[in-house]
Symmetry: D2
Subunit: 343 residues, 4 copies
């Protein structure tokens, strides 16, 4: 049994991780920390866990965490980088669900996250935990940077087109929509149901932190630079991301459906829908799958991809568990093998 | 492996049953019928099942169903009663998720359901499948009448008070609220999101079919007649039932919290919350639990119970699986042992 | 033109008041205060008011408010009572949308609101602004205590039964459900859409501040004491209150429909629906109406009333404008004469 | 007083039209038709209209309609074209809220709408009722083709860029999201709250009827052909459209904010938000406004416009009333001058 620790378990990502791990047959959560809730049972904060977990939040405690095989960071950005070196030195492996190790270029990271990086020397070692491109590296990794939610949905949708060199890469467009749980579990006016319910809006059009993360992944796929316009939106629902992607085709005769099916044939968590389909976010609610459809509107020269994930699963905790499974030689879908909750 | 058939698999109850059974370790679904969708893969209708089930809807076919050990009816009211005798004769056990066998009194049933009962002789044999009162009988049953959604939430909330003889039984009040999936998956104007969203209303105040079903259960608990006012409401959400129950106490000094905890101590799916709590429907979303809190407002002589379930789980398919587990000697929570999806 | 001031304009009640007043033909808002947003245009905070109002929040300023004919307090509880004496002394009339003057008994008020009352001598003068019982007094009032949202919905539903002496008054039950805007516009975790969406729960079962307010109104209607169990619930929608009321009839032969229709025949904002109806909250969304239906389930001895309002209109700002119209001799529905927004 | 008739008043567009017209000071609805609901009071179907309208649905009746000055068609596509010639001959003016007269090219129309056009000779006369481009023509029109909901949101967002010749016109992209009321008030499974709630999806990616309508408007703006990829999405809310538009700039130095403000300075219903803003659909809920923001992400060469409307107001009935006001010389905002409902 993998001994797992979770740092920062009071947010939605931490809660989702716990929900997945309490029924995971290959691991045991032995410590979950929260400065503000120390001493409180997790099932008190998250009543869905009543009867499933007797864990009690503890204060962040290096000794307890160093007894773990693996530590997940479900913390705000900027926390994992301050604790990672010590844990790694103690032989603990790490999956950071936040952004500290996602961007290889220190300067770019510091620009977008507005702080100095605490351990830039680890950036090169950190493996970007998108199994669909880095499966082998994840298996060996000491430090996994779990991808962001938008980047996962967008990258999985664009990759087949880019890897095949089928589209112009200067003006890619990703129009993404997220449920409100993506904003986390923290008191705010903007996140109130009275504010976010029954309404829809774009945000951060001028620039969003996930843009450089996506660009990095797409650029690697083409071994060159890509141009990307990324616009996130807030949708009046709790879970789910849908990304609609637009790219100009170099060659309008290619079999896009066949291309996508071939690319993801062996992927346990990427499902290419039949030709003509439109994926719904609810088809992945609570599940780790990404479902994708590809179209060529009016038989023109633009490829349109629609990609959906659950932002808390394949967009965060689920992908984290998928990475853990890879790191410890378990079946990749261990503990993740249940259908989405629909309706 | 129990060989399971499902009759009527295109509604939400059938889909939920399938969702539970595809990961259930003790059974295999070998046939699922639908007159309208015959020939279509179930994963085509319910995309959350893609990759989890290769089943294809078949036309209702007695031969195929008679090869099952157990058949679930997830059909409209009035269907199971026409097919039950033949299946039972063939040695197949039955769990009816509809209402055909829930009410022992044929006249009362025919009054509320507006049709003649097709096999009244089976009414006496049918076991009302609320494990918390009929566990032993369910184990032996050939024919289980799975309780209604409202009746489950209301009965579990009232039972401790009634069994202990603590309340006046002439004027019980149950004010219940349900998400829209309770109305099923059929085309209607009233069920449109434009109609049911962002709004709340009572319905069927003059009388609802679940009232006699609840009264039957409560009357058995007191070995006498009870008076019950039951008012259902439609809440703008997909899943969940909350029932707030009101009863006058004979004795205002009793320890209600202790009473409820004692009553349900050994129940795997009834969770009495700590004193002062208020259960939320989301704490049971996708899970088979009923969570209950009991209060005595302003220290007066009225007991108020709040009881929540997921109408598709403990209120339908989940309770059906619980009954199946009992009928076949499996652990009662087999295949039902996962936390609710929250948020 | 009535010169109106609004103290505390950054909450939903203040915003709704402003929405109503910018198109009201008989008044002009000349000052709106907010300590935190002083200097900011109201249309910046509430973009629906862009093009409708050039008002800018100002710091609370006695001089500016004393130049008003009428001041609305849309503040948290406990603010109006500290400023009312000075404004009244300056000849300004007041409508308090908060609770400071709603309960005549100082001790009861202090118990439930957890603070000393700052001007108990004004309690006797304050008029409880429910026009359906206090229309004449409101017209003359200097100081109007605008009723709470739940109390309005509950009182209007019970009044015909109580005034006619038709029900037992010891064990009245009010099961009320509210949208989330009732909790106000302040940062919180509990109000996040991720927490309050797609879920339903009771709260404050042990006791809620609106219980004594409702009891006061109902007791006056019967010139005696009433017993009331009041349980509020949170529904996953933004606006709307539905209250389902239960009372035992002394006389089960009375024509309840006729009784209700007669009681409210001349009321501009209380609409008794036809026999057999069930009011929906959306039928009053954005409108000042209360819609009511009365039933006698299964022809028994319990009367059930369902009453709906928009908590921000008839439950707060709309009723405030109705009271203003009465105080200044305008048509009672002036500025309130538009249909609800449906769907 | 303009004597108005409404053909097809049982859908959301018809109901919204009625909601606007019952308080409109310049017109009187003298007839509203519905084959299925003839004889039923409209306030029975739409309870928000109780107390506001005594109208009763009548069977379609040429005589009654010919007594009108103006007839609105709020019917499915293909109805107005069969009745328009007779009404026009009788001197009645027409505003068609459906699509019969929106596309000037008969062949294109017949291709997308799958039927023969019944009166192609009227296509040339019909005025496309987008006041922001056709104000003068609308004033004189006998027959107004009220624009579609998506086309209104998309065209108003693109027009300033196109009219100024600032963007490449071959590869315009419009990613649009709509609330569910856009699908109308008809029984369906897909529109159930259980299906459409808490989920998000793209639809009709391969091609949607509004694409040629939008292209027609944009092509006129540039006096040439434009290439447009248009992808609509279904958002889990009742009202509102948000369109995010992408276009490559020819000249990245232009002041986009100034351009948009200048273009719409005198428009009563187009509101250009301050630089850096993101419009929310709720800011126009129930109001006839279109609110727009323009951005240049990361100071690059792509312009991104976000445009929001209420699909039932500026996207249908509200724009219809705006056109009526123009046709009869009333103030353009007559009856439309109220703020949106927020929250």
């Amino acid at each position: 049994m993998i001994k797992v620790g979770i740092v920062g378990g009071t947010g939605y990502t931490g809660a989702e991780l716990l929900r997945l791990l309490v029924t995971h047959p290959g691991c045991e959560v032995i410590a979950i920390t929260s400065r503000s809730e120390a001493g409180r049972p997790v099932a008190d904060l998250f009543p869905n866990l009543r009867g499933h977990s007797d864990l009690v939040f503890i204060k962040p405690d290096p000794a307890r965490l160093q007894g773990c095989d693996l530590v997940f960071f479900a913390t705000p950005n900027g926390v994992a980088m301050t604790q990672a070196p010590e844990l790694l030195a103690a032989g603990v492996r790490i999956i950071d669900l936040a952004a500290d190790f996602r961007i290889a270029d220190q300067g770019v990271w510091e620009h977008w996250y507005g702080m100095r990086h605490a351990c830039p020397d680890l950036l090169a070692e950190a493996v970007y935990g998108l199994p669909e491109i880095n499966r082998q590296a994840v298996k060996q990794a000491r430090l996994v940077a779990n991808p962001g939610c938008y980047p996962t949905a967008v990258a999985l949708g664009f990759l087949p087109l880019l890897e095949a060199g089928l589209v112009e890469t200067e003006h890619l467009i990703a129009d993404a929509k997220s449920g409100v749980s993506g904003a986390g579990r923290k008191a705010s006016v903007a996140g109130l149901m009275s504010e976010a319910g029954e309404s829809f809006k774009a945000y951060a059009i001028a620039g969003h932190r996930h843009q450089p993360e996506i660009r990095q992944t797409l650029s690697q796929a083409v071994s060159g630079d890509v141009g990307l316009t990324f616009v996130p939106h807030l949708a009046p629902m709790i879970r789910g991301i849908e990304a609609t992607l637009y790219a100009r085709l170099n060659d309008a005769t290619v079999d896009l459906q066949g291309l996508f099916e071939a690319r993801y044939r062996d992927e346990p968590f990427v499902d290419v829908l039949p030709s003509g389909s439109h994926p719904e976010t609810r088809s992945v609610r609570g599940a780790n799958h990404c479902r994708i459809a590809v179209h060529r509107p009016l038989d023109g020269d633009v490829a349109v991809v629609s990609s959906v994930i659950d932002n808390l699963l394949k967009g965060a905790a689920g992908q984290g568990v998928q990475n853990m499974n890879l790191m410890y030689g378990l079946s990749e879908d261990c503990g993740l093998n249940h259908p989405a909750l629909l309706p």
